[in-house]
Subunit: 410 residues, 2 copies
């Protein structure tokens, strides 16, 4: 104990978290600069201090505690908890009892780290509020749970910076597989995912590669079915209502619409309009469309959400559907069956897509080799109440016929 010099230099890497400077004493004098300046560091707003003082989370029990209580080694406890059947029955029950009494829950981070792998899948979706995305997520999760896998979701809100953050997160979590069901993917991110060597499934974006599979729905076929159906009813003045997205599926629907119309109904008049996604988007777009001078007999919407917004707006303006204008959606979300009038739309089998994604991501979940391929899924036309023969034909004395096409009715 040399009382000559007590130099308590306290240095910590974690200074950004608990920035405490202890007073420094050397030869009994105040060294170097003004001490009060340093102590100032300690004068922190109470709220801020509390924020910084978020200490280590009180550690829960660990394997060792259980092992000690059961009188065995950590290895044995681990073996019991992992259901390795190499442990003697009596030891096993003793361990389980100890774990139960201590209310032990294994630390999954430590487990993932030690195992070097885990049973967690990630899924990126643009908008969980949209039942379309939800259904895929839900089907994926069901399949996963039945095989002991977990699923973590990231909702990107259609914001690409959020998407980047989510991708980083998923890679950081070292998920065993990742499903990207988003519309805002760009090549830079695809590269990042490829590099990560995590098995990936893209929905509707990109091309298959080594660890990348592509699941896509044949939108062209679906849009063709709609246009052909409307054509068979006799519609010639059609408006297509899209939304502002330059990306794949959306523009593909628009393109197919145009192609099909010009092919099967060369004399048709066509109008293309856009709004933002969602209910309000459809509503506003419909208002603009009706005041634009173009007088459609049918409005083909890029998805059900917009279509429901359109229905709402038409109703407000006193336009009867389908007598005056027919409206169609796309996706067949649940809502489309319950809005009024019920929506004629195209069904996309979300459950099958989610299931398929799981089979692709988890090797051994399916007997087929699916990874690295492109998987195409067929949509179906669903005819409900929002479409009928156009008003000119009705005026001409035709009886509105509903069973014109061989469409599926559900």
């Amino acid at each position: 104990m040399t009382s000559s010099s007590i130099s308590t230099r306290k240095y910590s890497d974690a200074c950004h978290r608990i920035p405490v400077l202890l007073p420094v004493q050397a030869h009994g004098r105040v060294p170097f600069g003004d001490l009060s300046k340093r102590l100032h560091v300690l004068r922190i707003e109470p709220a801020v201090l509390e924020f910084f003082m978020v200490g280590k989370q009180i550690p829960l029990l660990n394997l060792e505690a259980v092992a000690k209580r059961a009188g065995v080694s950590t290895a044995t406890v681990s073996r019991v908890l992992n259901n390795l059947n190499v442990v003697k029955g009596s030891t096993r029950t003793r361990v389980l009892k100890a774990a139960e009494e201590l209310k032990y829950h294994p630390n999954l981070h430590a487990r993932s780290l030690a195992r070097g792998k885990n049973r967690t899948l990630g899924i990126l979706v643009s908008n969980m509020e949209n039942p379309f995305f939800f259904d895929i997520y839900h089907a994926l999760e069901s399949a996963a749970h039945s095989c002991g896998y977990e699923v973590v979701v990231a909702n990107t809100d259609y914001r690409s910076e959020q998407l980047v953050a989510s991708v980083r997160l998923m890679i950081g979590w070292r998920v065993a597989g990742l499903a990207a069901v988003v519309s805002e993917m760009d090549s830079h991110l695809i590269q990042m995912l490829t590099d990560s060597r995590i098995p990936i499934v893209f929905y509707d974006v990109g091309t298959p590669q080594k660890n990348i599979t592509n699941v896509r729905v044949d939108y062209r076929k679906g849009m063709k079915k709609i246009v052909e159906y409307l054509h068979s009813l006799g519609h010639t003045r059609m408006a297509f209502l899209g939304h502002h997205s330059t990306l794949g599926p959306i523009s593909e629907r628009k393109k197919t619409f145009l192609e099909t119309v010009t092919r099967i109904s060369p004399n048709a008049e066509v109008h293309i309009a856009s709004g933002s996604d969602g209910l309000e988007g459809g509503r506003l777009a419909a208002r603009e469309l009706l005041s634009s001078g173009f007088d459609p007999t049918a409005i083909i919407c890029v998805n059900d959400f917009m279509a429901v917004g359109v229905l709402r707006q038409l109703r407000d303006q006193g336009v009867r559907v389908p007598e005056e204008i027919s409206v169609t959606g796309f996706d067949n979300i649940k809502l489309s069956e319950f809005c009024s009038p019920a929506l004629t739309t195209v069904h996309i089998p979300r459950e099958r897509i989610g299931q398929k994604i799981f089979e692709i991501l988890v090797p051994g979940a399916s007997s087929d080799r699916l990874a690295g391929q492109e998987i195409l899924i067929d949509p179906e036309l669903v005819v409900r109440e929002s479409t009928s023969v156009p008003r000119s034909e009705q005026a001409g004395g035709h009886i509105p016929k509903r069973s014109v096409s061989p469409a599926v009715v559900r």
Copy 2:
């Protein structure tokens, strides 16, 4: 090299994952039992074999690789990546360059483990498809992201065994805080969560404790507003449509309905009916209600989802809303604004709830001390198109008045 005895006994704990038994040779003879019996173990279905052969995930780069490339120690790399400003500028850029080139992503499991804490919050919801739950989740996530926190969701599907699994998972992940926005919580689980010492927020269940906060909406007040409003319009034959749930909020709404009716309108006739949750539930319940003999002038639904189902069913049966029957919902989900007629309902401020939950869970996010308390949030009546004076009054020559009550209109 003793050629006398080559005993290659291969034993591995991981036998449940890669159950390979190598042939055993001792003194050149086949020992103990029939060798073919053991080799049989090797004869495995190819698919199964592949399943078991899921090797270690190819390790991504780790800190050490980056450190080596940059010519520094792992400590320095860690300091750079954590933005500790103790590192020299030139070193810093060198490290960042190396990390970039190697496409390094830190392993978040290792980070959580080493730090003993993390910035992840968990949220349990009964049904993400219900926009009510989604909105809370979404608000929570927004608040979290703006403070560098992540959010993981677990969807329990109203299944209690799923809830138990999710709680286990969250505890295993050592989330920094957990929001339980579920209706199927039981005391056993609450105990489990209390024991975990994780900060918890319950929505509408349980009582505040040490690490448990309770956020609840004053449903009584909301239901009172609805009944009073209908009463002021002149309704006297009201039906309440609930769903089969013995739990808190649902039965509370029913109870308050009954209390309020008997208090302010003692002569009213009342009918209580039930269905399952959701659109179909409402639809079926409405059908049963109408064929029950009771002839209501107003149907008060326990939530908007059921109300929309009811609207749909009434429309199918040719009953006009609100002229013949008024319908009200509860929650003010987005759909209630877009269905037809737009629904009179009670607005629950989900954004504020989500935001509040974050402030409670993360110490320092708010200046108030919120943890361990009970927080009560006020709902508001939203009058739209689905309610009006009852038909008897209309027949009596009254002019339907919309502005009877001081309700908020949005």
